[in-house]
Symmetry: D3
């Protein structure tokens, strides 16, 4: 599934690298302001997705669907990436997207378009890296 | 965990039986109107939670968290009941509520209060039924 | 279509008369506070549904669907009543509800249950009044 | 401003005492479940309204308007009570409601009706208590 | 009404052609994944706007206003285009925008800015095509 | 605090000047359409933030937090600028952001990232202008 060039046609997506860089830089700026409440909230946010009574994989899927019905593209992008990291497969993503679509309605569709675009960018990159010859030796 | 009398103090909850009856009666009225689009939507809604690439239990949890961040009490009640039916435990509910709380913020708290009230009503009833002596020989 | 007794089973609906009375009384209290901004907003709200480039009937339908996807029961009740007043038929209501359902998703279903309940209460009352023998000679 | 009997006409409000009791009981049930994330969130929620770079009064007003545009009746009731406690006057409430109304639109009106009803219940009670003869000597 | 150059100043709009291309390509990717639920939802979405008890023109206006109060730019763009296609006039659009503005509040204004920008782009293009000399002969 | 180059990394922000230009141009187009309801709404919107029972500074903060929990980037940008104009300090902004974060949840975080980016752009520009040598003499 070649995504080369697809991001050119994209309405408002930036590359995954740019997304990560902006997100990291501005999070640092928010946290660097040393507001205790904001810092503690960020800690709670991280902890909410750790293994507990529910495992991390289920929680990341919960975060993904919550972000989708609330229609926050950046949150969706973040959770798509996390879900790929804990082994969620493409058919499982589609099942989760379908729950979000039924609960949240057609208003979620533009977000699902960008979500599958992101998902395929991440999966493509993963495939490329897996296919790459070892870097030295 | 005795819930006797708790529903008296409730802000706007009705008994689970009344909830089920009103829900069934009005769904029937909506569907009985024979609007093809509405009937098909209801079918899609049912199918979205069936076993697939993700299992039904995960999907019911997705439905619960989506309903919580969108703050729909009746949807929460429905999914709490479904989740209990597929074996979600109280600590797992709390983990799911926590994800919803972090994603959706304090604005979800009144809904979480009613959600845990409902959950305990359903679990209490289950306990009562399990503890009941066999009805006849 | 007899609705007798149905409101007993209702989750949170009150009679149409009580709804109207509370609404009128509290609107008066809001407006009686003489806040110029609030008074002007209420005037704009009334004018928005008057005949213009679009006719009142279309605008009331727009108000109904907007209220449904934003999931405001009291706003839905109000616009259902207004729509009945300008001649929207039950099949047309179902078509409008279906648009709201598709756009807004299953999260709107509890509101659609209450909406059709309200609609039938209003239509039943209308039928009763039409069927009543003339009050005096 | 006599509110006697007004709550009878109310669509879905319960008395302020019942509200407080249910809220306290269910918060305790949520917190008594000992979910660390939920407990910490509640602590953050309390701290967010304490004096800081902005004073508590301004923060309670922020909480009130945020709750109004997000249309959460129980959150509005809570912040109305807190705002009265830190000296927000009725004309200031109306100014805050007006900002919420302009930002959030007519969809907030049913919530503003209930908000002013609550506000007047609380102010009436305060007046009654102030007017009461000293309880002993 | 010349729109030349205006899209340069635009906050986040892309050309209508790019919008259509991205939308078509990603819809195809979503549907090409062969998830039965998603495919059926897309079919329901299409059918919801076909002539029925309400005509297509009214339904497209309902879709437009629903999209505006839910603040989904891509959905607004889509329905603006559909509405132009079924003959909705500029003054009628303004009437529909006004209903959305009153119901949804000032928070919809940035979306209305982009909506009228899109609308004029589409109307300008239509005018240009109507004014163009026949391509051959 | 040098912001040079930061907008390159931005997900979707444009320069403050472009933002202002697009906003002014399209507002003019909306108002130039001479729809009385829309014109009156814009007037109400302006008046809602003027000194009254609450002062303008408090009202701008209310507008900022309302915009943040409703997650409208352009509204946030506008109110950040207004708040800076009436003397809100960076620590006060962080306190307001924290209230919005707690009420609205982690779903507001991407908007807070862009909000602090905008805030720092505006504060940097202010510092530059204050540090600039007098233009003549």
């Amino acid at each position: 599934m070649a995504t080369t060039g697809r991001s050119d046609a994209s309405e408002r997506t930036v590359s995954m690298d740019e997304f990560d860089r902006y997100r990291a830089e501005l999070n640092e700026r928010l946290l660097g302001s040393n507001h205790l409440g904001i810092k503690r909230f960020f800690a709670l946010d991280t902890q909410a997705y750790e293994d507990g009574a529910l495992d991390r994989r289920t929680k990341e899927l919960l975060g993904l669907v919550a972000s989708t019905v609330l229609r926050c593209d950046d949150c969706i992008t973040y959770h798509v990436k996390q879900c790929v990291g804990v082994g969620v497969t493409r058919p499982q993503f589609l099942d989760a997207f379908n729950v979000a679509l039924v609960v949240g309605g057609s208003i979620t569709i533009p977000h699902l378009r960008r979500a599958i675009d992101r998902l395929d960018q991440i999966l493509d990159k993963q495939d490329l890296e897996a296919a790459a010859p070892p870097k030295h030796e």
